[in-house]
């Protein structure tokens, strides 16, 4: 890295720090306080925990688009897994994967399998009244899947069979179906009826957990590296 570039980057860095620091330190008390509206709305929302209520009630549209973002990332990963004509590395269609085949990792994975599954289910259930929820539970499931693949046990290329393909789509499709159903009943989009709101939110979070777990695992499994084993 040449000195001019290093000096310019340092100057940019200092400038950014000064600009942001002055903004942060001179903030005055904001005019709106949404926490009050939120506290009034929680009893009607069907969940006890305010963050889950924000994610799946008050700002559920953001969550819908966020799951779409994750799905798009997985779709691009699946698309790039197939070799293109520009591939100079290997002409055959191979799925490359990282494998660490040691007895310690294998036995650890088998021990952790039930424990991590139970943790994921607990996190999902606890999200209704404590920090937790679909994304945290899905991340634990994805970590379990990563251990499973890295320790050498797998069932073939990722998303090659029908079930994993369905699981990948089920979360977003289920959320979208629930949202569209509210439209069909003449309510605004994503307006859950108060009496069923809790049950709907739990159902959506459950399918989202499975989907998020499979999506994150798919993102891990789709990045080839030279020297990786062939499946």
């Amino acid at each position: 890295m040449n000195r001019a570039r290093a000096f310019a980057s340092g100057a940019l860095s200092v400038g950014m720090a000064v600009m942001l620091g002055s903004a942060v330190l001179t903030r005055e008390f904001p005019p709106f306080d949404l926490a009050v509206d939120l506290a009034e709305g929680i009893p009607r929302s069907g969940v006890a925990h305010p963050i889950t209520a924000v994610l799946l009630q008050f700002r559920s549209y953001d969550t819908l688009l966020e799951i779409a973002v994750l799905l798009v990332a997985v779709v691009v990963a699946l698309a790039l897994r197939d070799p293109t004509p520009a591939d100079e590395s290997s002409p055959e269609s191979v799925i490359l994967d990282s494998v660490i085949n040691t007895p310690v990792l294998t036995s650890l994975t088998m021990t952790l399998l039930p424990l991590m599954t139970m943790t994921a289910v607990y996190l999902l259930w606890a999200g209704a009244f404590q920090p937790g929820g679909a994304f945290q539970a899905g991340a634990v499931l994805a970590a379990l899947g990563v251990l499973w693949r890295v320790s050498g046990r797998r069932t073939g290329p990722f998303a090659a069979n029908r079930w994993s393909h369905v699981a990948l789509l089920a979360g977003f499709a289920g959320f979208l179906a629930a949202a569209t159903t509210t439209l069909l009943f003449g309510r605004p989009l994503l307006a859950w009826p108060s009496s069923y709101a809790g049950a709907i939110i739990v159902a959506i979070e459950t399918v989202l957990t499975v989907s998020i777990g499979i999506s994150l695992l798919g993102l891990f499994a789709s990045a080839p590296a030279p020297g990786d084993e062939r499946v």
Binding site: N2, S9, T63, V69, L219
Partner: protein, 100 residues
């Protein structure tokens, strides 16, 4: 100085330092790491400054959760593209920046 303002100032330092690193490096993986640190700093500012001298506010916390998912998806996509690029060409920088 409350704890939340301290978090926000730490976020400022992270964003500034990582921005400098993003501009300085040409190695794509280092740029990606710098981007992730900038994202973390941004989330710290979002949560810290919004709750400074106010009651704990679940809205910025939920926004950060959404932001983390989006950042994870973007980072994963960048990594996949970078790994394919590296596997295809053996280079770690984009073409016109190789002499940087």
């Amino acid at each position: 100085m409350s704890a939340e303002l301290w978090y926000a100032l730490v976020g400022v330092v992270l964003v500034a330092a990582a921005f400098g690193a993003f501009m300085a490096h040409t190695h794509l993986l280092r740029r990606l790491l710098a981007f992730n640190i900038m994202g973390t700093g941004c989330f710290l500012i979002l949560v810290g400054l919004a709750q400074h001298e106010r009651a704990p506010d679940p809205i910025p916390q939920a926004l950060v959760l959404t932001g983390i998912v989006v950042a994870v998806a973007s980072t994963a996509l960048a990594l996949i593209l970078f790994r394919r690029w590296f596997a295809a060409t053996g280079r770690t920088t984009l073409p016109e920046e190789d002499d940087g």
